[in-house]
């Protein structure tokens, strides 16, 4: 029994982290039709930000956390302004290549700056504490992660549904030119999308590394890819879809890991899932239909 609880708990926790990253992919795709390959590396950068900031003498941990979030958001904003905005009217392929370039740039920058070795993530008091539920001993973070994720997702969905800028995001995602005719400044809306995506990636990063305790320059790639698969699974562009996809992948992965004979295949499972979805349901669970009423 306690074994299953353990599996489910860690599956939900990992799924929540994928969800926070997947939202960044899916929102950017919804508006720019761009797979932001640099998103997983943003997550890695957020990890290093906290390591270096927390090492500053006399820096309180809450200050380091806030600063990490702020820097990650700033980085996401700057990446969009420098690498994607100048290509606004270029073919989509050019923007995608630019995104791949940014991804390698961040990885190599991190390798150069840190020497390429994995570094220990600082223990954050309270959330790194051990607790016991249903007879299972785990870090408090395993329980906090899903709760915080759900709160953030609900807040985001309400934001997009009820605020003026949220409405503008939905409008821009359908039609750039007509949105401009309404007087919507689309560059602002796009910046806002990157800011929200980076913010969630920063939160995800803090929780992920509190759990796994190590940051290395290429560590963003795998969670990034899995979050991307989650977004495709749920129907890219759809926020609830991305969240459901992320939980599904997180839980399945942990179940597979529990069987020693196939434990090594847990990553392969994710990508086999991607292939199956693309064959059977290319638009994902909640994806928009391609046909439009003219």
């Amino acid at each position: 029994m306690s074994n299953y609880v353990q599996l489910l708990l860690s599956g939900i926790a990992v799924g929540s982290l994928y969800a926070l990253i997947a939202i960044g992919y899916t929102m950017v795709y919804g508006i720019l039709r761009l797979i932001n390959f640099a998103h997983g590396d943003m997550f890695m950068m957020a990890g290093f930000f906290l390591i270096y900031i927390a090492a500053i003498p006399n820096m309180p941990i809450w200050g380091a956390l806030l600063l990490t979030i702020a820097l990650t958001v700033l980085l996401g904003f700057l990446i969009e302004r420098c690498a994607y905005k100048p290509l606004r009217s270029a073919p989509r392929m050019s923007v995608m290549i630019s995104a791949i370039g940014v991804s390698y740039l961040l990885q190599n920058f991190a390798t150069y700056f840190t020497g390429g070795l994995a570094q220990a993530y600082p223990a954050i008091p309270l959330i790194s504490n051990k607790i016991e539920i249903f007879g299972v001993s785990t870090k408090l973070i395993t329980v906090i992660t899903p709760i915080l994720t759900i709160i953030l997702v609900v807040a985001l969905v309400l934001f997009i549904k009820y605020t003026k800028i949220g409405m503008a995001m939905r409008a821009v995602s359908k039609d750039f030119e007509t949105s401009q005719l309404m007087g919507i400044k689309i560059n602002r809306v796009i910046s806002m999308t990157f800011i929200i995506g980076s913010f969630l990636a920063a939160i995800g990063s803090i929780m992920y590394f509190s759990y796994y305790e190590q940051v290395s320059p290429t560590i963003g790639a795998m969670p990034g890819l899995k979050a991307f698969v989650a977004a495709v699974f749920g129907g890219i562009g759809s926020i609830p879809g991305a969240v459901i996809g992320a939980y599904l992948i997180g839980i399945c992965e942990n179940i597979i890991k529990s069987f020693p004979a196939i434990a090594d295949l847990s990553n392969a499972f994710t990508f086999v899932l991607l292939i199956i979805i693309l064959i059977l349901k290319p638009n994902g669970l909640f994806g928009e239909k391609l046909s439009e009423k003219v």
């Binding site: 939905r170 039609d175 949105s179 005719l181 309404m182 400044k185 003219v294």
Partner: protein, 237 residues
Amino acid sequence: MSNILEIKDLVVSYGGIEAVKGISMEIPEGEIVTLIGSNGAGKSTTLKSIAGVVKAKNASILLDGKEIAGKSPDYIVSAGITLVPEGRRVFPNLTVLENLKMGAYLRKDSIKDDLDYVYGLFPRLKEREWQLAGTLSGGEQQMLAVARALMSKPRIIMMDEPSLGLAPLVVRDIFEIIKTINQQGITVLLIEQNANMALKIAHKAYVMETGLITLEGTGKELLANESVKEAYLGKSK
């Protein structure tokens, strides 16, 4: 009567091809002005460059004598010019009410009176307030597109082919609405394939062919013009 909008030497090119080759137009305040011409003549491009979504290569566009060429679309909307785009282009994933709110995006004052005003013009929209715009019929979408444009409190409303693809009865309704809007003091700049109806309601009209203005006059004059009759009204000599 004074001109609210003056366009001088507007040149627009798309990828090396000149779609608009230096046209000039004068739009008197409070009138309905129509621009007719065949497909590909450059009419839509003209309106889009006035709205600021297409950059002109060379132009002077004066609103009340003040230069607005090269300004951003949001500046032009807040200056009082709005465009109802071709093919309606309502936001299908937003409700009718949300679409109307998007029309008033730049306004900071209360929009309640304006909602009542457009619901008065188009009672059907009031009934469908909570419906997604993508589920409306073509005619209703066109009404929504016009209503959405009115929500910005424009002084000039530009309409690109409002009758396109609509049933004849609905087309008549749309033209009635255009007249009503105009009687309430809003200047109208109208592009139409349906030259016959457009010229009947227009105070002033221009004919555009392959990027150039080839004829201008009052609506009545052009209705009686032999070459216009032949080319656009489907009547033989």
